[in-house]
């Protein structure tokens, strides 16, 4: 019915099983090593970080709204300073904090850290990111082990290739030779989409209360930045027209965040609302990021002036 009757078992089945197990171990480790080398040498943003190859003056961290709200090549050209976008889809504030701590331990601290703070709606763990760079970052390894202990130990003992499961390794390989800093939505939201769009109740509910763990992570990130002499700017990038109206808890959430962190939130959520600047109601596109750029540049330059003024004052007090 299946294998033909002529199929004969090996003369020493246990030995055959041992050989199979060893073969799997060798193949698995070999392939994992090959993929790992390709991933680390990639121009993918996180590979640059863990290679110690970033050296940004302005660092951006956030979720997918951070990916699509800031176009770093144009910001770099306009500011004359290197702007590096380390945002990623689904990146929570907890992950952003860990990435920033890893950043300052490998690269010179940036002058300015821009945080797109809608990632402070929750403090989840991006398991894919953790497992991909676990061997480069004790913090990520620890987060992975805490979130998925079985997968963590299974990958250590039985299947090293499991670390390369998911979207991120494939993106890292895709950006092997070219920078991913120009990765941004390029399409426009279809006509009438916002009129039909309904925010899911569970998504709207997240704006009703502050997540204590997320706020703690945000405060910790801000403290780390200050310790390294990095200025922090909290920003909320735009939503398409009508989206914010479906979030009744928005204003209170922002005010609560400001009170909890002692930092101002630069609320640009309604700075640009024209549908053509959005790929979907939550995410801008390239055109939108460029349209938003003057506002962002103004804020960055204002931060720079404030920092210069603060430095002057500190210097003059010292000289007295």
């Amino acid at each position: 019915m299946y294998l033909p009757e002529s199929f004969r078992p090996p003369r020493r089945p246990l030995l055959a099983l041992l050989i199979l197990a060893f073969s799997w171990w060798a193949i698995d480790r070999g392939i994992a090593a090959l993929i790992g080398r390709e991933v680390l040498q990639s121009q993918f943003r996180f590979s640059c970080l863990y290679r110690g190859d970033c050296d940004a003056n302005v660092l951006i961290l956030g979720n997918s709204r951070g990916v699509n709200g800031f176009f770093s090549p144009d910001l770099t050209a306009a500011l004359g300073k290197k702007v590096f976008n380390l945002s990623y889809n689904g990146l929570s504030i907890k992950m952003a904090r860990m990435l920033f701590e890893d950043y300052v331990s490998r690269c010179p601290a940036p002058e300015l850290l821009i945080l797109e703070v809608t990632n402070a709606l929750d403090a989840g763990t991006s398991v894919g990111l953790c497992q991909l760079y676990a061997d480069k970052s004790p913090a990520l390894a620890n987060a992975w082990r805490t979130a998925e202990p079985t997968a963590f130990w299974l990958s250590r003992l039985a299947a090293a290739t499991f670390r390369y499961n998911g979207e991120l390794p494939l993106r890292a390989v895709a950006f092997r030779k070219r920078s991913d800093q120009n990765w941004i939505n390029t399409y426009q939201m279809p006509e009438g989409m916002m009129a039909r769009y309904v925010v899911a109740p569970e998504a709207a509910a997240k704006w009703e209360t502050l997540d204590p763990e997320a706020i703690a992570e945000l405060c910790r990130c801000i403290t780390t930045a200050r310790t390294h002499g990095t200025k922090v700017m909290l920003v909320i990038t735009p939503y398409a027209a009508g989206y914010r109206a479906q979030l009744p808890g928005f204003t209170d959430w922002v005010q609560g965040l400001e009170a909890a962190t002692g930092e101002d939130v630069r609320d640009l959520s309604e700075a640009i609302i024209t549908p053509k600047y959005f790929g979907d109601p939550l995410h801008m596109n390239l055109e939108g990021a460029r349209a938003l750029m003057p506002e962002v540049l103004a804020l960055v330059r204002e931060e720079g002036r404030d920092q210069a003024v603060a430095s002057d004052e500190a210097g003059s007090q010292t000289s007295r």
Partner: protein, 478 residues
């Protein structure tokens, strides 16, 4: 315990050791206890139900066989069938009927005051009640003798590889195998490993990866354009196949490892060239069960064209209802009933115009190709009702797809998962298409090293491409 969870494999390892280490006379007890542990793991309260059905139908079958008069035999048959249908009806359909009745009364402006009951749907109830039903009927028909041993019969009903999501195994196929010798075999182990590995690839690599795209579209269809929804529908077509065929293959592989042979449950259904061909390839154990215990007893195709169509529609409507206590499942069944009736009428018309023997080869080929594509498209449409949360969602999805004025993918979200999904669908389809020409088992027999490469390839696919979100199997909800 899901097949794609580590706890299941730990359970199976322990079970297999106990099974092969125990004496032949004790293996049925080991199988039964293991199966009850497996089932009780979901919810220990479910055990009372399966034990109840087992004992009642066991007794009913014995009484059928012992009864001398036809009337008594028939009475015990009715009792056995009634027990199964009553339990299934209560746990699965009570709230559906209450809701439907209340909705009907609302339409008539009558306030009923009726409320739904707090009932948990036991996992696998549709499968083991059908097995118990078919056993009772087969004893009545004289297909098999009543099983004198309650232990053996309980093992048949509760056997864990196929307990919670099929395949629906006939007693005439399974009970004789309980007497066969079950020793550990390298050949059988290789075969089982290949089936389990490929089954897990279908489920964990393909089905669960496609689910990421499907779930976002069906959760909020109003937020997606036509092309995005079309992708969701096509992906779901392959997701449900990978999910269910994968589970069946793992179940068949595990049983095979233990020395039991289950029939194939899926035979490349999306290569079907007609709707009847589709139902000979999709969920074969269910479609053959419906044919033997519903369609044929209703008269099958023996009572003229009109009655045949009625029998087809009845069978498919009830088949749809079996899948779920909701009108969209009934609609799905009704659609397939309609497809089958349409095909029957179309074939009769074609035969009158141009009989099969007089059709040129080119025409036969063109008909086969066109009908194959048409079957696939119609099946996709049917799946919309199967997956959508409601009729209005299904209507919205189909309306948006029909009205789509752009095939541009630029607006479609989750492009990475899209690309991965397309690659997986293409890969699995190619492998299955090649199986029409290549006998994979014969090749493995001639070059045993290829079996090792195949297994390594499956494990690599699982580790690199598998989606491990703890997703259940779709058919568990039935």
């Amino acid at each position: 315990m899901l097949f794609n969870s580590l706890i299941f494999w730990a359970f199976f390892a322990i079970f297999a050791v106990l099974f092969f280490a125990s004496r032949r006379s004790a293996r049925h007890l080991v199988s039964l206890v293991g199966s009850y542990v497996f089932y009780g793991w979901w919810d220990v309260r479910f055990l009372g139900l399966i034990i109840g059905i087992t004992v009642l139908t066991y007794l009913a079958a014995l009484r059928i066989e012992c009864s001398r008069s036809a009337a008594m035999r028939r009475a015990w048959l009715i009792a056995g069938v009634a027990v199964c249908l009553a339990i299934l009806g209560t746990f699965k359909y009570a709230n559906f009927f209450i809701d439907s009745f209340v909705a009907l009364l609302d339409q008539l402006g009558i306030q009923s005051g009726l409320h739904t009951l707090s009932i948990i749907l036991p996992v696998g109830i549709s499968f083991y009640t059908f097995q118990a039903l078919s056993y009772t009927v087969d004893v009545y028909r004289g297909v098999i003798p009543a099983e004198p041993s309650l232990l053996r019969y309980a093992t048949y009903i509760a056997f864990f590889p196929q307990l919670v999501a099929g395949p629906i195994v006939r007693a005439s196929d399974f009970l004789p195998q309980l007497s066969h010798d079950k020793s550990l075999s390298w050949k059988r182990s290789c075969e089982a490993a290949c089936m389990v590995a490929w089954g897990l690839v279908l489920k964990v690599v393909m089905a669960d990866s496609l689910a990421i795209v499907v779930d976002t579209r069906f959760a909020n269809p109003a937020n997606h354009e036509g092309i995005s929804l079309l992708i969701g529908v096509v992906f779901y077509t392959f997701q449900i196949y990978g999910d269910f065929a994968g589970y069946s293959l793992v179940a068949i592989g595990l049983a095979h490892f233990l020395g039991y042979e289950f029939n194939q449950n899926f035979d490349r259904p999306y290569f079907s060239t007609s709707f009847s061909d589709f139902w000979r390839r999709w969920h074969i154990s269910l479609s053959s069960w419906l044919r033997d215990y519903l369609y044929i007893p209703l008269g099958g195709s023996r009572k003229g064209g009109g009655r045949t169509m009625a029998n087809l529609m009845t069978t498919m409507l009830l088949g749809g209802l079996w899948h779920g206590a909701a009108w969209n499942f009934v609609a799905w069944g009704g659609l397939h009933g309609g497809f089958l009736c349409f095909q029957r009428a179309g074939e009769q018309t074609m035969d009158r115009i141009l009989p099969v023997g007089r059709r040129p080869t080119v025409l036969r080929g063109a008909i086969t190709l066109c009908s194959g594509l048409a079957v696939f498209l119609c099946v996709c449409v049917g799946w919309v009702f199967f997956r959508a949360r409601s009729f209005s969602d299904a209507g919205l999805i189909l309306g948006r797809i029909a009205g789509a004025d752009s095939l541009s993918l630029s607006q479609v979200p989750q492009k990475f998962h899209l690309a991965k999904g397309v690659a997986l669908i293409a890969g699995v389809t190619l492998i299955e298409a090649a199986s029409f020409r290549l006998d994979y088992w014969a090749i493995g027999g001639r070059y045993p090293a290829l079996i090792a490469f195949f297994l390594f390839g499956c494990v690599l696919a699982l580790t690199l491409l598998g989606t491990f979100q703890g997703t259940s199997f779709i058919y568990f909800q039935f």
